[in-house]
């Protein structure tokens, strides 16, 4: 946070607390009004994206033969940390990529202190297009720091990130090249993002909600943002870049960790470097598009792991939002005011919404059970009407969007689990509150809550096979 931001937020807090002390009702009214205004914008924005995404989906199917002769060198970054168990299946799925192997550069980004994964990589007979890069053991211990090290060694015209548990569509690299070369895609498109989905959606209720969240996020939110020319915050993997553009927009070397500088394509201190990079690309006038290709991942099956992962995502969104509001006018001018506003709305709005939800649900339940005059006094008729409409319509639409996602993507077994949506929403709101404490504490601010994978590997083969059928 910059000094200006700090002053702004502190002054706002002081003014609000002063009003709260002098006249609590006015303070309450201000809080309710601003919250409802925010909800209206946020829910309206989500619906707009849903509509935009639903307009004619073009699917891109590219035959390998037509592209083979003119394919460029492609760099694949695979950051690994304590993921030795994932290496065999990873090598296999990369080997299945429908791309000439002599034009493939696969960089395994291994951490210096991760002996286990390094020994596993050494012991395996890795194909010749694989090479290893050792990331020095220094702070911050984040994925973007490893990516920056990899970027320094990248020789491909295009590059992509895959995580250890990723199972990309075999044609994905070809589709990405085809998209970059397509005459219908604007020349300033620097990145194409493939969709992410989970192959273990039916393991338990948690993986089902992960699956549904991704289906909504990639099918409608990111797709909608891309279609109307806004800034889709990138998914953590399967984002394909023009390598030279990453070099062009790189962060200055003096802002990178001295021992592991590399080339600063990604902000090494940001825990959602993907969302941050989307903003950086937009700041430099570049755009992002979606491609019709899916990478399957493994959803975490444990609550504790989900807690850690979601905390990181929310923390990263807040970090990113704060970064791009450091110089709001400058950022808005560079990105375009509307694009900037929508990007910030998504970055700050997503955690804000999760933080506000329990407050409003609590007030609603309290009001209708106790008929409290205090709560009633905070909702004069216009606010009350908007609040009721948002509570009913907003929650209903977002709930039903998830049901439709199940139908659209054929996960019929998950529909009955939608009755647990309130539990899921409460859970991610609870995580968001925990995230706030993590962000406030300077010692935990940049901690990368690593998600362990491989909890559900035994089911993978069968499920991928079923899906392909």
């Amino acid at each position: 946070m910059s000094r200006g931001q700090l002053c702004f937020y502190l002054s706002a807090a002081i003014i609000f607390i002063s009003i709260l002390i002098i006249n609590p009702r006015i303070a309450g009214l201000i809080f309710i009004t601003l919250s409802l205004l925010f909800y209206t914008c946020f829910v309206g924005f989500k619906l707009l994206l849903w509509c935009a995404a639903s307009r004619g989906n073009e699917s891109s199917s590219v035959s390998a033969e037509t592209m083979q002769t003119e394919l460029p060198v492609y760099t694949v970054f695979i950051p690994l940390y304590h993921e030795a168990n994932m290496l065999p299946s990873l090598v296999k799925s990369i080997g299945q990529l429908n791309y000439p192997k002599d034009k493939l550069q696969v960089l395994l980004l291994l951490e210096e202190d991760d002996d286990e994964t390094r020994s596993m990589a050494d012991s395996m007979n890795l194909p010749c297009y694989f090479s290893q890069i050792i990331v020095p053991d220094c702070k911050p211990k984040t994925k973007p720091k490893a990516l920056n090290m990899g970027l320094e060694q990248a020789v491909g015209e295009f590059c992509v990130i895959y995580d250890a548990e990723d199972r990309p569509d075999p044609d994905q690299l070809i589709k990405a090249v085809a998209a970059f070369r397509s005459s219908t895609i604007p020349k300033n498109v620097a990145c194409v993002q493939a969709q992410l989905s989970f192959w273990n959606d039916q393991t338990n209720w948690l993986t089902r909600f992960y699956w549904i969240d991704y289906a909504v996020h990639f099918n409608w939110v990111l797709q909608g943002l891309a279609k109307i020319g806004l800034i889709p915050p990138l998914g953590g993997t399967s984002n394909h870049f023009r390598t030279e553009i990453l070099w062009k927009i790189a962060i200055a070397p003096d802002e990178l960790p001295p021992k592991a500088a590399g080339i600063g394509g990604w902000d090494p201190y940001n825990v959602t470097e993907d969302a941050d990079l989307a903003g950086a690309l937009a700041l430099h006038g570049y755009r992002i598009q979606m491609i019709d290709s899916i990478t399957y991942e493994e959803a975490t099956t444990q609550m504790g792991m989900a807690d850690r992962q979601r905390r990181r995502w929310m923390k990263g969104y807040l970090q990113t939002g704060l970064v791009y509001t450091r110089h709001p006018l400058r950022s808005a001018r560079a990105m375009g005011p509307l694009r900037w506003f929508c990007y910030i709305l998504l970055m700050l709005g997503t955690p804000a919404c999760l933080l506000l939800n329990p407050v409003f649900w609590g007030m609603t339940i309290m009001y209708f059970t106790t008929k409290s005059e205090i709560i009633a006094s905070l909702f004069p008729l216009p606010l009350y009407s908007i609040g009721i409409a948002l509570t009913i319509l907003g929650n209903l639409l977002l709930f039903y969007q998830q049901v439709i996602a199940c139908l659209k993507r054929g996960s019929y077994g998950s529909v009955k689990y939608m009755l647990l949506v309130p539990v899921w929403w409460l859970f991610i709101s609870y995580i968001s509150y925990r995230m706030i404490f993590e962000l406030i504490n300077p010692r935990t601010r940049y901690i990368w809550n690593k998600t362990e994978h491989g909890q559900d590997l035994n089911k993978e083969a069968t499920l991928v096979h079923q899906r392909s059928i």
Partner: protein, 511 residues
């Protein structure tokens, strides 16, 4: 440039559907103007209740969404909100009639589409639409703020989208059917029965057609949304009145308020069936009723009752429902042939949708060489009946409320209204709304200063101490214990008011 022209050429205009919409719009406006000119659009007492409820949401001492509730379902009143604020549109009823007219156009168009999608025959589809559009009772009801047309539009939407889902297997249609169900179930209670019938269709279809998992997921996705209207209505009643069944057993919902103990329908299935039959015939004409049953029979036999026909067949569920409602004394319905008077005879009008659909299907089934003769005959008959009943103001739904206008109570109410129209000069009015709805409305007094039984925070307090609430006027039915003001007003407080007007039924006090 090339791209743009390509896009334009891709948009297909269905000229026949467009023609149905245009014809329906013209008929709608013409009928409205006719009945409006004759001052008949607000003849049903319920029309005024609907307008008042909607207006009280935005205007009144306890305005707000909490004004919605109890017996009347809220969707019609929510729809009126964008227009109801205008005194002109409120007092002439257009704020609500506008939506009835819109619903008429939608229902007519959807009937055309239902028949066309079932038969692939435009002549039959047009005939079906005309059976609906030219019905003189429909033409009258669509000119009024009554909620029937809104129900018909939603019901045709439910049937059409369920039918399209069966025909195309696209889940989107099922979602649209569920949306139509939400709107229908928040418009009138009859739709709850249709929803149950359609739910059976959905369950049968998914379990006969899909794997278990897909069937379960698809059916649940439909039920989550389709029953949301009913569920949320009950929750709403629970939150506002503390009784989720307020709409069914609340103070103003008890069937004993309307159904007389001597009603010949009660406990007699045959009379109940006869009563409903006469109500249907009075609304549709015998010829159309015969066409409806013949059409349904022919379709069941000729089409072997294919699944795509199931949703339309569900519309017949209204017959046993109404017979049961009459037999069990849940609903009153009087017809001349049984009771010698008219009351709620419009319940029979519900059968116009199956009549239009199966009439249209019958026309489409008739061999080609007979088309022109049969359709011309039906069309000529419809137009003739429609014109005669419309121009002579003899449609049964026009007759029913017109007969009330001559009643003793109505005349008394109009007398009070006339007095208040000339003497009211501001200030709060304390009166019971139930049973006296039209007095303030006819006096052209908006509910801004009306304290009534729905003024939940101040009603009881105002009855005890009217002056504390700045009540300037008190209106009550004399010697009538069903009038809460008469029954519960603090007599000491009342002594501080002087009686300024009275007739044989009402007494009005002013401070």
């Amino acid at each position: 440039m090339k791209k743009r022209t390509q896009k334009i050429s891709r948009i297909k205009i269905d000229w026949m559907t467009a023609s149905v919409i245009i014809a329906a719009s013209m008929l709608s406006i013409a009928a409205f103007l006719w009945y409006f000119r004759h001052g008949l659009t607000l003849n049903y007492f319920d029309t005024i209740s609907h307008l008042e409820i909607a207006r009280r949401v935005i205007d009144g001492p306890t305005k707000g969404l909490a004004q919605l509730g109890a017996v009347w379902l809220p969707f019609p009143h929510l729809l009126m909100l964008p227009l109801i604020w205008s005194n002109v549109l409120y007092f002439n009823g257009i704020a609500a009639s506008f939506f009835s007219m819109l619903a008429y156009i939608i229902a007519g168009t959807l009937i055309y589409k239902i028949v066309f999608q079932l038969s692939g025959n435009k002549t039959g589809a047009v005939a079906g639409a005309l059976i609906f559009l030219l019905n003189p009772n429909i033409l009258y009801m669509q000119s009024t703020p009554m909620t029937e047309l809104l129900l018909f539009a939603c019901m045709t939407g439910m049937v059409y989208e369920t039918q399209r889902w069966i025909q195309t297997d696209r889940y989107q249609h099922l979602i649209y059917a569920a949306i139509a169900s939400v709107l229908a179930t928040l418009s009138r209670y009859e739709s709850w029965v249709l929803l149950l019938a359609l739910s059976v269709v959905v369950i049968c279809r998914v379990f006969m057609h899909y794997s278990f998992k897909k069937a379960e997921g698809t059916a649940l996705a439909f039920f989550y949304l389709a029953f949301l209207g009913i569920g949320s209505w009950m929750i709403w009643c629970g939150m506002i009145f503390g009784n989720i069944l307020e709409w069914q057993n609340g103070d103003y919902a008890k069937s004993t308020l309307w159904v007389s103990a001597n009603d010949p329908d009660i406990g007699n299935w045959l009379i109940s069936a006869k009563t409903y039959y006469y109500a249907v015939v009075n609304n549709l004409s015998l010829a159309i009723v015969l066409v409806m049953f013949l059409g349904a029979l022919v379709m069941i036999i000729a089409r072997k009752c294919t699944p795509s026909l199931w949703p339309a067949l569900c519309l017949f569920v209204m017959i046993p429902f109404f017979i049961y409602a009459l037999e069990s004394g849940q609903r009153p319905l009087y017809v001349e042939q049984i009771n010698g008077s008219l009351y709620n005879v419009r319940f029979g009008l519900l059968m116009i949708i199956p009549a239009a659909v199966f009439g249209g299907l019958l026309v489409s089934w008739i061999p080609h060489k007979w088309w022109y003769i049969s359709t011309s005959a039906i069309l000529a008959g419809l137009i003739l009946l429609s014109f005669i009943q419309t121009f002579t103001l003899s449609a049964i739904t026009v007759q029913e409320p017109s007969s009330w206008q001559e009643s003793y109570l109505n005349k008394s109410q109009l007398q009070v209204a006339e007095y208040m129209k000339h003497h009211y000069h501001g200030g709060f009015i304390l009166s019971q709304s139930f049973g006296n709805e039209q007095i303030l409305f006819k006096a052209l007094i908006p509910p801004t200063h009306n304290i009534y039984e729905g003024s939940y925070k101040i009603w009881q307090s105002a009855l005890k101490n009217p002056m504390k609430h700045h009540v300037e006027w008190i209106l009550m039915r004399r010697n009538d214990r069903t009038d809460q003001v008469y029954r519960s007003i603090n007599r000491n407080a009342l002594s501080k008011y002087r009686s300024v007007y009275q007739n044989s039924v009402y007494e009005l006090f002013e401070r």
